[in-house]
Amino acid sequence: MPRIFAYVLHKNGVADDSAAEMVAAAKKIDPVASPIAITTGFGPEFDTVCSGLCDWYGEVWKIAKEELAYPNAEVVRKALLSVLPQNCILLVAHNHFGIDLSSGLSIKLNAVFVPDVVSIEGLQDVKLKVVRQEFGGQVSAHVACDVSSGAVLNLRPGVFKPTETAPLNGRVVDKSAEVLALPTKRRFVKMIAADIGGVDITKEPVLVSIGRGIQQQDNVAIAQELADAMGAVVSCSRPVVDAKWLEKSRQVGSSGKTVKPKVYLACGMSGSFQHLAGIKGSPFLVAINKNPKAPIFQVADIGIIDDILEFLPELTNHIRESVPSKR
């Protein structure tokens, strides 16, 4: 059985949620696996991360170097190559960092790469079978890969549920000395914090959220009128921001804002996992979409199969009639 490693990201002295999820994923590959955490960073906060990971992992490989203080995938890749053994399986979260790191790492390790894994069916001999999604989540695919020369698996965040277990009291193994110089052709310069914007959608209890189905800028007014009638605020998914129809600060999703409303009206959006990742707190979710195959219907409480450009104005009119103050 190949050794299983999990690369753990962290921020402000706290390990990413994927740390526990990757333990659960490792057990899907091998029920008796004792995965090893591997993490990179620098400074006292990083030491806290490493000792915290000992609750979840029997062994935590720590690479502490000043060049690794900020997680630059180009530098981290080189550091990992110095310490990872041949033919291992490495788990990484499929987020902005995993997308940056893993595909190139798989080439350097001469290992197979499977991105955005949503389920693991198991390992038989050298054949690992996993599930991925394609075509915007409309269909799933079983994918088989040959892990005889190792594998890098990027796991979709949030899908592997950690199991409650007693803290393992693992040990930290300092691997820093095995990593020599880390020259890089890509250098971190600075961070740019997200715009707050005129309306803070993260604090709103009711959101009318629009996706690609709104079709053109002029139609945004249809959603705004509904939101006004409901006493709600308009938010959106990525395509609406890409088209410059709404400000970035209105975007819900992993590359936008995380919202926690009581009621969420998903209008004309497919429900990509990146979008759903930005909706927390299990709101009452109503999906309106003319495509009955849209993945949003899998997660919504209430589904309406209709064209939002016709349905929303009618909804607005009825609300105005039924709520006297909105007349």
Partner: protein, 263 residues
């Protein structure tokens, strides 16, 4: 600056309901509307804007079949100077690594200062750009939403990270960047533009032209294989409101009132 953009022709998921074929080994592809992968189109636009400022040429390449030529022509109508179709029976069934191997062979014979890809395509894999960079020993950055040429040797790029935050990086040329949607506003391509490039010769390159080892690509070399497609068993699924639109509207209003959705 000489820029290569790697593009792919994909079924347009926003226009199509994707269904499985009977055998379950592929999606039902008849009647699907195909177009250039959206993120790749942003990458071409970005390349065109860089070349407009800095000078140089934009080449668009795709690994595929004759049918894929249409997206190359479309991107030439947008303004790309050259297009290359990489196509050979030996390439079919390649996994991500195989496609990267093919592109590496092309780039080694035809060097570029900058290589762009879209952030991801229809398979949601987001893998070929990073693999190609690693094979070429070029630096790589993904999820790029701004590119500024600093000088002939380096770029300043902005990457999207979590929560709408961004990070600024400096990256040496040559490099590979995966471009995020929304980086620019891709120009419109009319029928007239497409007609103007209808007769432009687009070279097709195969195993022999690229000098790629046939055993390193294609189905036989693929270590990552799709076994089948399936539609996952529905979770709890939404309760669908049926009926005339007016009835559905009234039902929804009652529900919204009960859940605090009307204030």
């Amino acid at each position: 600056m000489e820029i290569l953009v790697c593009a792919k022709r994909v079924p347009d998921t926003s226009e199509n309901e994707i269904e499985l074929n009977r055998a379950g080994n592929d999606i039902e592809r008849d009647d699907l509307v195909y177009s250039i992968n959206e993120a790749d189109n942003y990458a071409v636009e970005e390349a065109l804007q860089i070349v407009a400022r800095e000078g140089g040429n934009v080449t668009v390449v795709t690994v595929g079949s004759d049918e894929d030529e249409e997206i190359l022509r479309r991107e030439m109508a947008m303004g790309a100077n050259r297009a290359v179709l990489i196509s050979d029976d030996a390439f079919s069934g390649s996994d991500g690594r195989g496609v990267a191997t093919i592109l590496k062979a092309y780039v080694e014979k035809n060097p570029y200062d900058l290589i762009l890809t879209g952030v991801q395509a229809d398979d949601g894999a987001a893998q070929v750009g990073g693999m190609l960079a690693a094979m070429l020993d070029y630096p790589f950055a993904s999820l790029v939403n701004s590119i500024r040429v600093v000088d002939a040797k380096k770029l300043e790029i902005v990457r999207e990270i979590e929560g709408g935050n961004k990070e600024v990086n400096e990256i040496d040329l040559p490099c590979v960047l995966s471009v995020q949607t929304g980086i620019n506003e891709p120009r419109y391509v009319g029928m007239r533009g497409i007609r103007q490039v209808a007769s432009v010769e687009i070279p097709t390159l195969g195993v022999s032209e690229l000098g790629v080892l046939a055993s390193s690509v294609g189905e036989a070399a693929a270590k990552v294989k799709r076994v089948n497609y399936f539609v996952p068993a529905a979770g709890k699924g939404a309760e669908i409101l049926h009926g005339k639109r007016e009835e559905v509207v009234d039902k929804l209003i009652e529900l919204l009132k009960a859940k605090g959705g009307l204030r």
